[in-house]
Amino acid sequence: MRIWLARHVQSALASLGRLWRQPLGTLLTVLVIGIALALPATLGVLVRNGEAVAGRWTSVRDFSVYLQPGLPVEQAGELAASLERRPLIAAVRLITADDALAELRTAGGFAGVIDALERNPLPHTLVVRPAADADDAAIAALADELRALPAVELVQLDSDWVARLDAMLAFARRAIWIAAALLVTAVIVIVGNTIRLDIQNQRAEIEVAKLLGATDAFVRRPFLYTGLWYGLAGGGVALLLLLAEQALLAGPAARLAALYGGSFEPLGLSRGGVAAVLGAALAAGLAGAWLAVARHLAAIQPRV
């Protein structure tokens, strides 16, 4: 067991040493692997941030009920109170036309325009917050019911665009999986081809080793470790690229968030994401090496 372990350690180090002695070729291969893996990971991080943003809003399912202009404020208050008693509705907030105008005056910079108006053009508005356990279909039905009330002019479901964003994110997630599968396949091919060249370059050594009684496992081992090192280094490069991207995007993301009146801490790769990148890199490296070895090593038989 100790000898077995020592052999593996020795193979692994020997492979590493061989890569180290050809720094340029190794660097290029590792960079290509890193970039190929960084691409889907970057998309993943973008979607993750999109989900975080959307998640902040999907929980908000409030909708606005604009009442008929000129409806007396007492009737609006009664309607609000009656709605609030329904089990499907958690809370109703009445924004009177006067409040809305006052808010618009302070917030929008329309003071001059508003002062020029003879009368308040805004309706009273009810902001309805559905109960937490109400499902989307029930809320939609409720909105339709409210639309039919004579006092109501317009019901606007704010959750429509959230649903669209969700759909977009789902689409993006699927697209990322496809891209990831393609790029991991590319990494397998890259590693496989690199190892194939390695095998050709070491043909003489392989032949001699086989003549001296080396088993297939003995001959195979250093190449598998080479694939593993390529994968590990490529995964490391991918993670470094992601860190760099994050640093570059932090400033613009903060400005963007500030414009929307919130603070936003851009998310990096999750811990599972880091593990996925490294795992995919290692697996692809090993798979590429295995393919090359299975395909080309058996063909080398000593000729004397």
């Binding site: 077995w4 020592a6 001699v208 080793a209 009684g213 088993t215 003995f218 000729r303 004397v304």
Partner: protein, 222 residues
């Protein structure tokens, strides 16, 4: 140690390497295989090392019919045999020490044992002081001695050598042959193929003479 029973080896394309060869070599013998090039010397050695398999007949090594060994059993079989080649087949990018250590590395010995045995083998061929040299820094005679050290480092009971002096001048050839004789004296069975009759005239020992794949003569002690 080795027994051939009516062994025929026909290569793809119809060329016959060996035809109906039967012979026996006992443990501890030193046997030269002679004949013109193409007479079947290499084929005979390749069959023993399982680089080739017989078309007909049986090749037995230590009582085992190796023609029937499955592919995965070949490495273990080869590890029991020391092999010396005409072009020595040393790895140019490795030091003398690393070249000689290779069979022990393959066999999975400990580092400490490897050091001890590599030094002993290099000492046997008189190259202990060159262990850090690369093969190209050595003379052809020295390179072949490294090849021999690599063949005996695993302490095989059987050593086969295919034209080990093919690239050497007569003085060096004799030196190499005397080295083989010394190794034989410590009990290694040896099978050495050579077409150099002039060299053999200076040596005693059993000879198997091959001609066009057939065993033409089996001359006992000279």
């Amino acid at each position: 140690m080795i027994r051939f029973e009516q062994v025929t080896k026909r290569y793809p394309g119809g060329r016959e390497g060996l035809v109906d060869v039967s012979m026996q070599i006992g443990a501890g013998e030193l046997v030269f295989v002679t004949g013109h090039s193409g007479a079947g010397k290499s084929t005979l050695l390749k069959l023993i090392a399982l680089i080739e398999r017989p078309t007909r007949g049986q090749v037995l090594v230590e009582g085992r019919n190796i023609g029937r060994l499955p592919r995965r059993a070949i490495p273990a079989h080869r590890r029991q045999i020391g092999m010396v080649f005409q072009d020595h087949k040393l790895l140019p990018e490795r030091t003398v020490f690393e070249n000689v250590a290779l069979p022990l590395l393959i066999a999975g010995l400990r580092r400490r044992d490897i050091q001890r045995r590599v030094r002993a083998a290099l000492d046997q061929v008189g190259l202990l002081d060159r262990e850090q040299a690369r093969p190209e820094m050595l003379s052809t005679g020295e390179q072949q001695r490294v090849g021999i050290a690599r063949a005996v480092v695993g302490r095989p009971k059987l050593l086969i050598a295919d034209e080990p002096t093919g690239n050497l001048d007569p003085a060096l050839s004799l030196e190499i042959m005397l080295l083989f004789r010394r190794l034989n004296e410590v009990g290694v069975t040896m099978l050495i193929a050579t077409h150099d009759i002039g060299l053999l005239d200076q040596l005693s020992g059993r000879r198997l003479m091959l001609d066009a794949g057939r065993l033409a003569a089996d001359l006992g002690l000279h």
